[in-house]
């Protein structure tokens, strides 16, 4: 199936297929596609290594318990699915500094890491705030 080896599909085809994935998700597990709760659960699991009683009683971790659920597996699946897709088309490439970033800010990995990390902190804080 050579279509699987193509580097890029039409964004409309990819989008429509993603819509179908949401149908599958609702039909099979009654779940909607989501990702950020998994980050809450994962940090809860990590913190439980060190302060399990505190995690068990912190209101946010009572609300979103540190456990491996449907979404945690979905998130793992995203990584795997992307890997397979990229490998099939040769689009897999180990790279730290994205081209557009490098053009503007230079090749420094440290600079890229610092902003990427800070961006991740801010993004997730906002996501969880908005999520309620």
């Amino acid at each position: 199936m050579s279509v699987l080896k193509k580097v890029r599909w039409s964004p409309y085809v990819a989008g429509a297929l993603l819509g179908l994935v949401s149908w599958f998700s609702v039909l099979t597990a009654g779940k909607y596609l989501g990702v950020s709760t998994t980050f809450v659960r994962t940090i809860g699991m990590i913190e439980s290594l060190f302060t399990p009683d505190r995690v068990a009683s912190l209101p946010y971790f009572v609300k979103e318990k540190p456990l491996i659920d449907w979404q945690v597996m979905e998130v793992l699946g995203i990584l795997i699915g992307a890997f397979i897709a990229a490998k099939l088309s040769g689009d897999f490439k180990k790279r730290f500094v994205p081209p557009m970033w490098e053009n503007r800010f230079g090749p420094s990995r440290l600079k890229r890491w610092a902003i990427a990390f800070l961006g991740g902190v801010i993004l997730m804080f906002g996501a969880r705030m908005a999520d309620g």
């Binding site: 699991m45 992307a82 969880r128």
Partner: protein, 190 residues
């Protein structure tokens, strides 16, 4: 293994759910990658209004998803999952999210997907940062859950409910508007 196992015993998590989650995610990541939606250059391109690939993928996904899901709900084989509209939290949180997204160039899902493509800034920078951000929010939550997180709480709203129009009519209107928007974007070669 028992530390890990303790997280699957605490609640009744059916194994089928876990497998279905994995399968769903694999397809999710696969199609995102093929649509080029995982790339930093595409996400920043979108935020800078120079490359509308991400918009095309998202809007098409919404248009297709919407139809199926409401069909399932009408058939009684699916349920909507409405989140409460809380104006303060939604707006401020959204703005903060946007700031972080612009800095990182990936969102939570695409960061994992980009990692799968070999773009390791998404993992060592992005995903680790996201874990820290989640941890920080977990601490802050205790202080804001009964105050800020309740400002402008309008409850669980849906567009059909608010405008008082049957959902299939709303879906049709949204289809018309969004398809016209996509046609306009294509015409301008964005």
């Amino acid at each position: 293994m028992s530390w890990l196992a303790s997280f699957t015993e605490k609640e009744v998590i059916r194994t089928t759910d876990l497998i279905l989650g994995l399968i769903t995610g694999i397809f999710f990541g696969f199609f995102l990658q093929k649509g080029q939606a995982l790339k930093y250059d595409k996400q920043l391109g979108m935020l800078r209004f120079k490359d509308f690939t991400i918009l095309k993928v998202m809007i098409t996904a919404i248009l297709v998803g919407m139809v199926g899901i409401y069909f399932f709900v009408d058939m009684g084989i699916g349920k909507l999952s409405l989140k409460p509209t809380v104006l303060g939290a939604n707006i401020i949180g959204g703005l903060i999210f946007g700031l972080g997204w612009g800095m990182l160039g990936y969102c939570p899902g695409t960061a994992l997907g980009a990692t799968g493509e070999g773009r390791f800034d998404a993992f060592w920078g992005g995903a680790l940062g996201m874990l820290v951000g989640a941890g920080i929010f977990a601490e802050v939550y205790s202080y804001i859950k009964d105050t800020f997180l309740k400002w402008g709480d309008l409850g669980k709203l849906s567009i059909p409910q608010v405008v008082g129009i049957q959902h299939w009519v709303v879906i049709l209107i949204i289809w018309v508007v969004l398809v016209l928007a996509l046609v306009a974007v294509e015409k301008k070669k964005l």
